[in-house]
Assembly symmetry: C2
Homo-oligomer: 347 residues x 2
DNA sequence: TTGAAAGCGTTACCAG
DNA sequence: CTGGTAACGCTTTCAA
């Protein structure tokens, strides 16, 4: 492998001049520049990234840490939308994406250590979920630049991007109430996935009821784990409620898919016999026919914005970079065929 | 940040001795070893991976290259199973996983360049699909260690792991024929996804027909792009065939999901009115109720075995490492509720 | 506009 | 069993 010295020798200049040419920086006489470029081509020279890293104390690697086990990550389409967002931004930059997902959630700390301690990342994207606070605190203590997807602890003010779950719940519930629904069943988030004190989608649902002057049916809420199965198996219990729900609002799309399937099997047609509203509006949902109405959570943007902010951090000088105010992403309602209001003649 | 010199100074030894302790290699007197360990702890010292890389000409990074655009990758559960397999193996090793997925398929070469040329990976996992041959040839020319998931070109003998598609097609078709089906519709692979000359699932289906002494209904084959939509929209054309198919065999699970949905909407119950067989047996399929029968393709193993082979390569001496014979993964049939044979009284 | 030489933090050859 | 010292390949201060 040719080094910068080989190039310098062949071009009859010093390594420094070659370096200047490579980094298109300084003013190099056009003629020498050409000579150097020729030598580079002739030797098929490519600068060694590792050496450059050592010198510049910069690796051009960014770690994307999801401290929750690979089952959770690779089989959840919502996770993948976030990763995709970050990937696309980083692919357009000079940075590499090091994906750090422990096989099991219990190995999380060890994984992160290997990235941090050995300092072969310049910054981190950290997926936030219950239990992540110690990690975030460690990053802060060590002065490591990071941005979290979701808040890592309630008081976090900086360096995060978060989908505002309550506002999604509010939007969806208001919509269903306006359609005339009075018996809505909710398949919400499981407490163990939420940061303590994090406001859930449900709190937004409650607000919508209050605004409408109605009492929120707390007994109509079931916790869910975001999965298809969970939605599928929840239907029996949801339908058992008295009075029977005329609509089901799910905190995630996969749960809604499971609900749709279970309803069909019971001969109930979504959007006709009973309304269903999803909570992510994932690409797969968008390609389903007939369409599932959903709260569109900007998951792709969560990832891309997070990566963008981190890159910005890395460009800034150290001190200021620590404190980029957190950003909230608002959800939007996408109405498709699964929500048409309660069936009058069925009530 | 403390360096090895700081530790050496504090422990009153030379950097070399510290190095020895860190790498648990040489024989260091227990007492000095303890002194060094104390110093390491006291200074919160962590070896710098970049410096180590430079010295050892080894980065401990492995690139996972999918030269096909992030839409394709992050929204295809089958891709993700493969990545998960590789991730889990690498997570248990000392290597980091650098995920290299261009935003658009057209940027593929540029992406790979940045990894290769700057040599900050020790090896590559390359996902093979139509058009990947030049990349593989380049790796070989440069002596870069890689393993491909799928063959990159027909004559490839070494360094690949492949799911044997024809044998899956054979298994599934034989099963359906044995159930008594005579009118089977196939939703196969799209030619643009296949390496030229690669045997498709369909060739295995044909073999099953031949063995049964039946003629393969070539007009019953539709190409698919593996997606849910594709399956959903194909149903109309599949059902239009004369005589009407009693079973639909899909080359991928997502296509089968789309088919199931479209059938339900037409009031046809899978496994009763018409049989459906999927081609991947993805985790999501496994969690569906009632179950979709499917050819279980070992996608997770594809990724994990690929990563395992690459790690093995990296441990070997250069010359020999280039030629690890390719491995084929056999699929298995998983029978669930969607395949029960043709309905006699409907024929 | 260009170059000599030091240094980034390791590892490793060769002495002691 | 341990230590001086030269690499690894690049950047960069300072001087010419």
């Amino acid at each position: 492998m040719a080094t910068i010295y080989d190039v310098a020798a062949r071009a009859g200049v010093s390594p420094k001049t070659v370096s200047r040419v490579i980094n298109h920086c300084a003013t190099v006489k056009e003629e020498t520049r050409q000579r150097v470029l020729d030598a580079i081509r002739a030797l098929d020279y490519h600068p060694n990234a590792v050496a450059k890293s050592l010198k510049q104390q910069k690796t051009f690697n960014i770690g994307y840490v999801i401290p929750y086990g690979s089952d959770f990550v690779f089989r959840d389409p919502a996770q993948l939308e976030q990763i995709k967002g970050a990937n696309d931004v980083l692919a357009a930059s000079d940075y590499n994406l090091i994906l750090s997902v422990p096989k099991s959630g219990r190995d999380a700390l060890r994984e992160v250590d290997s990235l941090l301690k050995h300092k072969n990342v310049d910054g981190l994207i950290l997926y936030a979920m219950a239990g992540v606070e110690p990690l975030a605190r460690e990053f802060e203590a060590k002065g490591l630049k990071y941005v979290s997807l979701g808040k890592c602890y309630p008081e976090q003010k900086y360096n995060f991007v978060e989908v505002e779950a309550p506002s999604g719940g509010y939007l969806g519930t208001r919509f269903l109430l306006n359609l005339g629904h009075r018996e809505i069943a909710f398949l919400g988030e499981a407490p163990q996935f939420l940061e303590p004190d994090k406001e859930s989608m449900i709190s937004g649902c409650i607000r919508a009821y209050q605004e409408a002057g109605l009492e929120f049916p707390a007994q109509g809420v079931l916790p869910g784990d975001y999965s298809v199965e969970c939605g599928y198996y929840a239907v029996e219990r949801l339908l058992a409620k008295q009075p029977a729900p005329t609509a089901i609002f799910c905190a995630s799309d996969p749960m809604a898919w499971g609900v749709l399937r279970a309803l069909r099997e019971r001969g109930l047609v979504p959007g006709k016999d009973i309304d269903v509203l999803g909570g992510d509006d994932l690409p797969l949902t968008q390609s389903l026919e007939p369409g599932l109405s959903a709260i569109h959570s900007k998951l792709y943007e969560l990832g891309s914005l997070g990566a963008g902010i981190l890159l910005e951090c890395l460009r800034m000088e150290d001190e200021a970079a620590r404190e980029i105010p957190g950003r909230y992403l608002q959800s939007e309602l996408v109405v498709r065929q699964s929500t048409n209001g309660p069936t009058r003649d069925r009530a």
